[in-house]
Symmetry: C2
DNA sequence: ATCGATAGTTCATAAAAGCGGGACTAGCGA
DNA sequence: TCGCTAGTCCCGCTTTTATGAACTATCGAT
């Protein structure tokens, strides 16, 4: 089976990160993967708080996050284990990713419980 | 003549900013506009350090930066005066924009004098 | 005023990217 | 082996992007 491509940290680009995170669905996915203590599978996101996403579209979103260097995906049995790579990227990009996610959190806070049910 | 659209600060979105800055040409434009003490016209960028950009393409890039809220464009006689809006955005987005530009600066530093003829 | 030059926008078209349904592949458990 | 589940791939459709060409607006000179 075709191996999944993961760029080396030094091949990750700012451009790629910004592009990947310029889509709110991908941001929700990344945030959830980061928040969760255990790896998330793709199908955990078939329905987000606000919408349903077709499998093929979701697969594409994961590919973009993966190839931007933001997540690592490992096949595990029938499904996939997705984990964040933010830790790895920090030495190279510093606060960049954190600032982006924080900015989204701000923006969404008044809109919907997009990802903070905080109940 | 059609007036130029500039979003109010509260209508600026993280998504729009990230998207606008996920293109290296637009990043170079913004950085130069920020560095310069006087407003820059669009045609100042017809040829960047590394490539030549058609007028129509450039016009589109400016529109995207403008509508993302990153720059302000005022018609001044025959040309345009473009100035950054980062100052205005800081209360809302904090370090976001600065971090993005800093990350690009890092990345480019080994590649080319992308935008620092600083002569 | 009119002409000509310059700065940008708009239009048309072709290339590329995105979305999503459906078929396909891989691993797991009867 | 069959059936189920998780993802990927392929294809058609729509949207976006890039760019040359035509158009609009303003300035300066005559």
């Amino acid at each position: 089976m075709k191996p999944l491509y993961h760029p080396a940290v030094e091949d990750v680009t700012v451009e790629g990160i910004l592009y990947a995170l310029s889509n709110p669905v991908r941001v929700q996915i990344l945030k959830e993967i980061m928040r969760s203590n255990s790896p998330k599978s793709c199908s955990d996101f078939l329905s987000l708080p606000d919408r349903v996403i077709p499998k093929s579209t979701l697969s594409q979103h994961f590919k973009i996050l993966r190839e931007a260097g933001l997540i690592r995906s490992e096949r595990k049995g029938v499904s996939m284990r997705n984990t964040p790579r933010c830790q790895e990227l920090r030495p190279r990009f510093g606060r960049l990713i954190g600032e982006i996610l924080a900015a989204y959190a701000e923006e969404y806070s008044a809109v919907a419980g997009a990802d903070s049910p905080e109940s």
